[in-house]
Symmetry: C2
DNA sequence: TTGCTTGCAAAAGGTTTGCATTAAG
DNA sequence: CTTAATGCAAACCTTTTGCAAGCAA
């Protein structure tokens, strides 16, 4: 299997998966919706609504920021996207949940790097036992200093 | 002897610890500073700046919201407090780090409940290995539905 | 056609900032 | 005395909202 075809299939599959799911929910598939879905899947950064808006603007000059927010909220509710919020930063960043992964956030420059395929040890049972909550999800945020900032 | 007789020994110890540390840093110990420090240590909720402000206002009628923010920022920088940010909520909540514990956040009513750490499994080594980050801290957020909301 | 989705602009919320004044050390 | 910290209000930034117009189904 060639590497390049693996990657494009992966993205394409995710895109179709999201769109199909939304159609089944009766959500209308608009041009701007498709653009935001594509963008968030393709992005290897962890964009904010503003970043997505600015990047899409050249191709969708009439799109508004509010529409980006609308679509992100939809994707969030449908579970396709997670929010990332950092200390000293009131912006919300979005992360496409195409696969299981964790984020490491640089405390100096704010860069967010994924790392993959580690089993997150579950504390669900213990948390439920101690608090009585019905546990739905666990999010582990790891903070550190990225290689670039370590050099400085 | 400082009088904080309304506080428990545990709280009093934490309070002295924070104040002593701040003095050593050359930070001035003002009335409002003491009030915020006492409040955050004493609070078993996870207050926002606004909540702290409103609760302290009767006793400190001339205090401003900005001062609460100032002091929370200081405590954050000195590592005495952590920020908690939730989905669908742009408010920052503050948690006094008097001891090791985890938070479980209710996805319906937003209530935040602590539970004591059994042992937060460390992914530091793996994260460092994969990303090159110098890992400084890990924050595990657990979401669920609290007992009250389960009844409804 | 129907009513979900959009674009726009205004408003809302939370947090930060600038500056004159106050008070800790 | 010095100057950090405060109180106040305005500014800021991100996100949400209301509504008329547009477009997917």
């Amino acid at each position: 299997m060639e590497l390049h075809s693996h990657l494009s299939n992966q993205t394409n599959t995710s895109y179709e998966h999201v769109i199909t799911h939304l159609k089944e929910k009766g959500v209308r598939i608009t041009e701007t919706r498709k653009a935001v879905v594509s963008y968030i899947i393709d992005s290897d950064a962890h964009p904010s609504a503003e970043m997505i808006y600015k990047d899409l603007l050249p191709d969708y000059p009439s799109m508004s920021l509010a529409t980006v927010y609308n679509n992100l909220k939809l994707l969030l509710e449908e579970g396709f996207v997670t929010e990332i919020k950092r200390a000293n930063d009131n912006t919300t960043y979005y992360d496409f949940m195409g696969h299981e992964h964790l984020n490491v956030i640089c405390e100096i420059c704010g860069k967010i790097t994924d790392f993959m395929d580690v089993e997150i040890p579950s504390l669900k049972k213990e948390a439920h036992h101690q608090t009585g909550y019905k546990i739905t999800k666990e999010i582990l945020s790891i903070y550190g200093i990225c290689p670039d900032c370590q050099k400085k």
